[in-house]
Amino acid sequence: MIEKINLENYEAYFLDYAEGNLTESQLLELDSFLEKQPSLKVELENFESIVLEEEPAIDISNLQSELKREEATGLLLADYLMISEVEGTISVEEKAQLASLIRQSPEKIEELAIYHKTRLTQDEVVVFTEKSALLQKEKKGVVWWPYVSSVAAAALVIFLFNFSFVSEKYSPRGFAWQKAPINYEESIQYRFIAQEKEVSIPIKKEKISSTKILDRTFANKVEPETKPFSEENIDKEENPILPLVEDNEMAQIETISTPEKELASDNSSIPEEVILASNNISNPAEEKFIPIHEFAKSKIKDDVLKGKTFSETILDEIAEASKEKITFKRKKDRSGTTQNFALNIGKFSISRNK
């Protein structure tokens, strides 16, 4: 409560009067006081002329974020905004704020320019000189075709050696046609028969490859020709029909001299180990196209005269086709039955043990 107005406290009355806070009784007191002290009327008018502007509202959220920013970065607003500008992370509002600051303090432009200089530039002269030690060699892709061809060749060999008509028991000393009638209308089939007689036959020197055989048909029908042969050397069961050569060629082959690989006609021979090897790879430039029967004729003739068995001939052909080194080993029992074998075609190998 305000005391009664006097010379000690009249300013408080004047302020309350200017702000309109005096009651009616207080206003009456003020009037009677001014009548006694007319010199203070001017001072009261001065109080009335002072109009205080309304203070702007304080944005607490901005204050909080600024406090947070300063607490976090230790940077003043101006530094924060300028670094944000350099970093490219400045928002639109912050950009306006920075522009306002620069308008108020133009020297901030120089400061901003120095901040821009703090960006490090690429230094390309620093080079790591030991890259070669870090590089790795690329693994070569697996080439499948040699394996595929080897497997195919192996399958063919297994088929041939497990098929009854392929036997090592025949004596490749000669050829003759069996007397047994053969139906040439259905297919042309020939017998591959050992002979006691010897004849000399010119050997074809020309190299022929089976890989280029195109004609698989036997165009010429051939009549069988009976030739003498030794019955005891013929095992009809073990030397079945083979589609090998034509009769007109065979007619010339009375007997063929084969100094080696006499196959035992009896079953008393000791177990033998047959080792066949072939690395007979032809020069493609020497190859020519011939029908299959022509090839078979010449091939068998040539190889038999060279002392090769039928198996060796087959292996030679597979070696030519696959371009791989082929090794075949097998062991027979007393009856001549193959007990085990091992076949290597290039990197591929297969074996069987009974």
Binding site: A72, T73, G74, L75, D79, Y80, I83, V86, E87, T89, E111, I114, Y115, K117, T118, R119, L120, T121, Q122, D123, E124, V125, V126, V127, F128, E130, K131, A133, L134, L135, Q136, K137, E138, K139
Partner: protein, 161 residues
């Protein structure tokens, strides 16, 4: 990642990783060891690391190896003995670059790393966070404080000149 992609990362990023490490530790032999170590680790994990993330993987691995090395050497008291070697051709620097290289030495290890990742390699804050193991806000604070230090160093040098 294929062998071809791995070899491409060697060609593309070995210089960058080497520069990053070298400028931090200023020891060429150690920097080479760290780079080789990073690439060996990546080679061992080519099945897991995707080609697109190879750069980040290399920087992360190299950075962490470097931090381990710094801590180990500090424990052994070796770090202060490491002499600064001339590992670049200073004649290619501008005056500002030289001053900035000096200014970088005023930064803490982490400030230097984040600024270099930001300026030399152009990584954003998230990527730098992945490499250094820092949060996004930490990365930002380190970079802002580093800029302030660099700016004050430049001002002081200009004042001297």
């Amino acid at each position: 990642m294929t062998v071809k992609e791995y070899n491409t990362t060697v060609e593309l990023y070995s210089d960058n990783v080497f520069r990053f490490i070298l400028k931090n530790i200023k020891d060429e032999e150690k920097a080479k060891d760290i780079v080789q170590d990073a690439f060996v680790k990546m080679w061992q994990k080519t099945d897991e690391v995707e080609a697109e993330k190879a750069k980040s993987y290399l920087f992360t691995t190299a950075y962490r190896t470097m931090i381990d090395l710094i801590r180990r050497d500090k424990k052994q008291g070796k770090w202060d003995e490491v002499a600064e070697q001339s590992y670049s051709h200073s004649q290619q620097y501008t005056g500002l670059s030289e001053v900035l290289q000096m200014a970088l030495t005023k930064l803490s290890e982490i400030q230097r790393s984040v600024v270099m990742l930001r300026d030399y390699e152009g990584y954003d804050y998230n990527e730098i966070g992945e490499i250094t193991g820092l949060s996004l806000s930490q990365v930002k604070v380190y970079i802002f404080r580093a800029r302030k230090v660099l700016k004050e160093y430049l001002v002081s040098v200009e004042a001297v000149i």
